[in-house]
């Protein structure tokens, strides 16, 4: 790695700081969206005045806004994301306990999506306007429009209930029992991959078509290079950057889409955590989950940015 690349990585790291600071504003600001007195809303309609006062004190709602923020930020920096209003347990412990279940299905879905979408995209782009292309684009349109949790339900009905090949619900630890963990994660990952497959296929197809119809590819043809060599040596090299961007985007979306999938498969992940805590107005937990997920996405974007500048030498010259 050249000094230039290292400097670039350093610069990207510095650029991440304001985004994280803004993210803390946004996460903290969530509580400000609660109409009326948040303490009374959180405590519920039947709460006593003492309970409301207790919640107000616990969340520091009696302090000025900037002090509340600094208090929350001070905790967050030390890895303390406050405690759940319902269980009284530290939020960070609960989030970290559930995160592996979510990340397992998200990464499986991502791997599945890439390994299905890349061949499909290449196939479509090399047969533009042909039967294969039309079939692939139709599949992609379906994948974008289908509700993924419905796909999950159908998969459960067919593969889990009728055929009994997979367990219907739940999750297992990847570290304690990898086989069971993968069996539990298979159907959720397939359901989750549906929109990712569609998105990656579409983007790969259109950018590959663009590259293959460009001037320099025509020159390569004229030079006598074979179709295959052009595709593998030049075409895919040029679309790899687009692919990287799309994968980043799909990762972000999949991390969100897993919420409904976790409900279908009763997976104890961060998605189901955020749904139950939003329903029960357990805001410290909601804030904690959102913050951790934002940090993951920011980190992922950073890695993609760095890979981008390593893969594309033009970025280094700037």
């Amino acid at each position: 790695m050249s000094a230039r690349t290292l400097r670039l990585i350093g610069w990207r790291l510095i650029q991440v700081v304001p985004v994280i600071v803004l993210a803390t504003f946004a996460v903290f600001g969530l509580l400000q969206l609660v109409p009326g007195d948040p303490a009374a809303v959180i405590a519920g309609e039947t709460a006593t005045a003492e309970r409301i006062a207790q919640i107000r004190e616990m969340l520091g709602l009696d302090l000025p806004l900037w002090q509340q923020y600094l208090h929350w930020l001070g905790g967050a920096v030390r890895g303390d994301l406050s405690t759940s209003l319902i269980t009284g347990l530290p939020v960070i412990d609960e989030v970290l306990r559930r995160l592996p279940n979510t990340l397992l299905i998200v990464f499986l879905a991502l791997i599945l999506a890439i390994s299905i979408a890349v061949p499909l995209g290449i196939l479509a782009a090399t047969h533009v306007e042909g039967k294969v292309d039309r079939l692939v684009t139709s599949i992609a349109s379906l994948g974008v429009a289908v509700p993924n949790f419905w796909v999950g339900m159908i998969l459960v009905g067919f593969f889990a209930l009728s055929l009994g090949w997979f367990p219907t619900t739940g999750a297992a630890s990847l570290f304690e029992d990898p086989g069971a963990a993968l069996r539990h994660a298979a159907l959720p990952a397939i359901a989750l991959a549906s929109s990712g497959i569609a998105e990656i296929t579409r983007q790969l197809r259109s950018s590959l078509i663009e590259v293959l119809s460009s001037q320099y590819v025509r020159t390569l043809h004229a030079k006598g290079l074979s179709q295959g060599a052009i595709l593998w040596k030049h075409g895919l090299k040029n679309v790899s950057l687009t692919l990287l961007t799309v994968i980043g985007l799909v990762f972000n979306r999949t991390l969100g889409a897993t919420v409904a999938i976790e409900a279908v498969f009763a997976i104890p992940g961060t998605g189901s955590l955020v749904v139950t805590s939003a329903t029960n107005k357990d805001f410290p937990v909601v804030q904690g989950v959102v913050f951790v997920l934002v940090l993951i996405v920011i980190f992922c974007n950073l890695v993609i940015d760095i890979l981008y500048s390593i893969l594309d030498p033009r970025m280094n010259k700037k």
């Binding site: 946004a26 109409p35 419905w150 339900m153 979306r253």
Partner: protein
């Protein structure tokens, strides 16, 4: 066309526009079918009370019945007619989609135009905020905002709209920056046109086209978001019917009546497909340099 007494050609623009509309639909079957489907869905929604054979809330002793002549799609776990609930779910979904997209546009457009037009530190600040909000998985953020605003269809769709706004702002920002450099904008400025009028009369109309396409595509995203949120119990509240919530109930009784999960799912799928097809078609209509299937 006819020449009026003042010698002005009046009906021509209207006629030409209609012709273009007809040519568009004739040349793009998918768009025509999608538009027809959505119009049918809209009229079905308006006439839901007339068309639906039963009240969507009417319970009966006939629980989880299979499809029959009396109940075209069977009955749910409370003995309610699934076909009637499906029809009454239509207006909910359309309302939800349009509400979310309107909220997103109303928030996103002003910020995007402002950032793109003013540039400088305003642009930097708005862009950073956009980047930050876009780093949060959208459904998770929508759930968090719904939790804060309070559970229910309108609140959850306002939340989805808030989540949409940074993407729309980013799109209109870039467009504004492109249009801002055009000669006619400079010309209008030299004539002494006020900034507000300049933005309203010259920049917005010329920058809005990609936003129209994006908004159509977002209707499908909003529909899917509504379905997810109602499925999770954060959107439409029982006993009111919605497609997402019908799926949740069907899932609970899947081992007894597995056929119940198909109708609401297909309703969501077809409506989302129609919005997407219309959006893609509009894209190629408004931007002839792009290929149809891109």
């Amino acid at each position: 066309m006819s020449v009026s007494s003042e010698g002005v050609l009046r009906p021509l623009p209207v006629r030409r526009r209609r012709n273009r509309f007809v040519t568009w639909l004739a040349s793009d079957t998918r768009a025509a079918v999608s538009l027809a489907f959505l119009l049918a869905l809209a009229s079905l929604s308006v006439l839901a009370n007339v068309i639906a054979p039963y009240s969507p809330l009417e319970q009966s002793m006939d629980i989880l019945a299979p499809p029959s002549a009396a109940h075209l799609l069977g009955t749910d776990d409370l003995g309610r007619d699934v076909f009637s609930r499906l029809i009454h779910g239509g207006p909910m979904s359309l309302y939800a989609s349009f509400l979310a997209v309107s909220v997103g546009t109303l928030i996103g457009l002003p910020f995007g135009v402002l950032a793109g037009y003013l540039g400088g530190w305003v642009d930097t600040a708005v862009s950073r905020v956009i980047d930050t909000i876009l780093s949060c998985p959208s459904i998770v953020l929508a759930i968090a905002v719904t939790g804060a605003l309070g559970i229910g269809l309108t609140n959850s769709m306002i939340a989805v709209g808030i989540v949409f706004s940074p993407g729309l702002a980013r799109l209109i920002r870039v467009q504004t920056m492109i249009v801002k450099g055009e000669l006619y904008v400079d010309a209008a400025r030299t004539f002494g046109m006020s900034t507000g009028r300049l933005v309203w009369r010259h920049i917005l109309p010329n920058a809005i086209q990609p936003v129209i396409v994006q908004v159509t595509l977002l209707l499908a995203t909003a529909l899917l978001a509504e379905a997810s949120l109602s499925f999770l119990g954060l959107g439409v509240q029982p006993p009111n019917p919605s497609w997402g919530q019908m799926l949740a109930r069907a899932y609970a009784y899947m081992e007894i009546a597995p056929e119940q999960m198909y109708a609401p799912g297909f309703a969501i799928l077809f409506t989302a497909l129609a919005f997407n097809a219309l959006g893609e078609s509009l894209r190629s209509l408004l931007d002839p340099t792009r290929r149809r299937s891109d």
